[in-house]
């Protein structure tokens, strides 16, 4: 449905070139919930913004993003406007993304009025349906964002994303700032939504309960893509393992060291200096290894495969 090929997003800054997204490839399958996991500063939000072309002007973008046989990166701004909200919708990270001086109902109806040129009345009746689906009372539609709690605002943002019936929904950190209870509600809502979704999060427990497949980003690169079930039971990449082990339920073991800067990140494997298994080969750029339906960017598996071949 959506295919990202060798995508690079670099930013020119005074200090040098920031490689926020580097050589990223993956594909989204129809109807799946695909989660992008990574720590802050790993480039996951930038990647999502690149798909909707919402990046600031100093971004240098290369590669391909194919959506329904069109390369998004080659579309004109006018075509992009038609696509945003209608075909690919964005659920922004911050609940402050709501306009404080417009009623939430109108903000959810706006994409419909904009894209389908329907009357305000018809747009609102559709919004009420979505509100009902998400568990928001329809009389709340004329309320303003400040009258809502964090969890309710998050639902309004989801309603806004859903209103024009997009084929793909991108949700950026939908659980940020919410407590365990509210996260549970968001999981329920997301499970009910029968659409292809790209979810960006650093909340592993949330990803575990929700996703079909998981991609792990580290320092601008995708280091592993696995079905969620396999990922949480047996992660492949050493970084994935480290992340999972730092969960309280798995021993609260931190990964040593720090994420390197994206300006002069280490050559070869970027996780090398923090990795327990690092070998001589890790100084060279690691290959992407395919294991059944899983992908991992790590030398360990290349070596293992060679050994298997020789046997």
């Amino acid at each position: 449905m959506l295919r990202v090929e060798n995508l690079k997003v670099h930013f020119k800054t005074e200090l040098g070139i920031v490689k926020a997204v580097d050589r990223v490839s993956f594909d989204l399958r129809e109807g799946e919930k695909f989660t992008l996991i990574g720590e802050s500063g790993s480039g996951k939000s930038v990647l999502a913004q690149a798909i909707l072309r919402l990046l600031p002007e100093n971004a240098i973008v290369a590669g391909k993003i194919i959506f329904k046989n069109r390369n998004i990166l080659e579309l004109s701004e006018r075509e992009m406007r038609k696509l945003r909200g209608k075909e690919i919708a964005w659920i922004p990270q911050s609940q402050n993304s709501l306009n404080p001086v417009l009623s939430v109902g109108f903000q959810c109806a706006e994409p419909l009025i904009e894209h389908f040129k329907v009357s305000k009345r018809r747009a609102f009746s559709r919004v009420f349906k979505i509100f009902k689906f998400l568990g928001i009372e329809s009389k709340k539609a004329k309320n303003y964002p400040h009258q809502f709690s964090g969890g309710m605002k998050q639902r309004v943002l989801v309603a806004m994303g859903l209103s024009a019936e997009p084929e793909l929904l991108i949700a950026d950190e939908p659980t940020k700032g919410l407590d365990a209870n509210k996260i549970g509600q968001i999981i329920k809502i997301f499970k009910k939504i029968n659409k292809t979704m790209l979810i960006i999060t650093h909340d592993l427990r949330f990803a575990d309960k929700l996703s079909d497949r998981v991609a792990v980003m580290y320092c601008g690169e995708v280091v592993e893509i696995s079905p969620a079930k396999d990922f949480f039971s047996s992660p492949l990449h050493p970084y994935s393992k480290g992340l999972l082990d730092s969960l309280p339920s798995r021993g609260l073991k931190p990964i040593k060291g720090f994420q390197p800067s994206m300006i002069d990140s280490p050559k070869g494997c970027k996780f090398r200096e923090r990795c327990e298994h690092s070998i001589e080969a890790c100084k060279k750029t690691p290959p992407v290894i395919t294991l059944n339906d899983r992908l991992v960017r790590c030398w360990l598996y290349a070596k293992r495969r060679e050994i298997e071949k020789n046997v």
Partner: protein, 226 residues
């Protein structure tokens, strides 16, 4: 060591301050020496308010806070200030808790300066303990990452060797791996200094892992949870 008895706190909200919200309703709580008590609850349930009331950063409407035999609610400001050497807060959001115009060193040294016991060696020693590098001390908050800032506020709270510390969701803004590092650090320092922690969090799994006891706050009441 620390006891809260029949604590009540209400806030007035709305235009004209006409609505009253009861946040704490006859809360009894006890924290013994050297133990970690986790306080869990939904957002808006009053976790932070209770933590601050126990430190007398917010005055309760009624009830008593007894710390090592003294009733804190009866103390004057000056007397309370002296006791601040023994009780400290690690705030939720270190970015907001540090003065942006001060170097990290000055923020860490501030509690000592306030109490007229400033020693350069103590600042360096605590910075080392929390894992801050020497050169980071002369930086400004915006030059440090979230995890590093969290170390700074931990250093500032622990520099006076307090007996009781309220940790108000100290890791909720951090990445998973950094979260594990900071919690390990807090646990290590607790052993060294024999401090009691009231650990406020909404992460039940985390509470289970680190706490001796878990308390849950819900509609103004505190109940113990196994």
């Amino acid at each position: 060591m620390l006891k809260g008895e029949k604590l009540k706190k209400t806030f007035k909200t709305g235009i004209l301050r006409s609505k009253t919200i009861s946040v704490l309703n006859d809360v009894d709580i006890e924290i013994r020496e050297g133990e970690t008590v986790a306080l869990i609850g939904e957002s808006g349930s009053g976790k932070t308010t209770l933590g601050r009331v126990l430190l007398m950063l917010i005055k309760p409407d009624s009830g008593r806070v007894i710390f090592e035999g003294t009733d804190l609610t009866k103390l004057k400001r000056k007397e309370l200030k002296k006791l601040r050497l023994k009780m400290q807060l690690i705030p939720q959001n270190p970015e907001d808790a540090l003065n942006p115009r001060w170097k990290v060193y000055d923020s860490i040294a501030e509690p000592l300066k306030i109490h007229g016991m400033y020693e350069h060696e103590r600042v360096v020693e605590i910075a080392k303990k929390v894992g801050l590098k020497r050169e980071q001390l002369s930086r400004y908050p915006w030059q440090l990452s979230g995890g590093e800032l969290q170390r700074v506020v931990i250093a500032r709270a622990l520099i006076v060797k307090p007996k009781f510390v309220v940790c108000d969701e100290p890791t909720s803004m951090l990445d998973l791996s950094t979260q594990a590092t900071i919690i390990r650090l807090l646990m290590k320092l607790q052993k060294e200094m024999n401090t009691s922690y009231l650990f406020i969090t909404h992460d039940f799994e985390l509470a289970e892992l680190i706490a001796d006891r878990i308390l849950e706050i819900n509609s103004g009441k505190v109940k113990s949870k196994n």
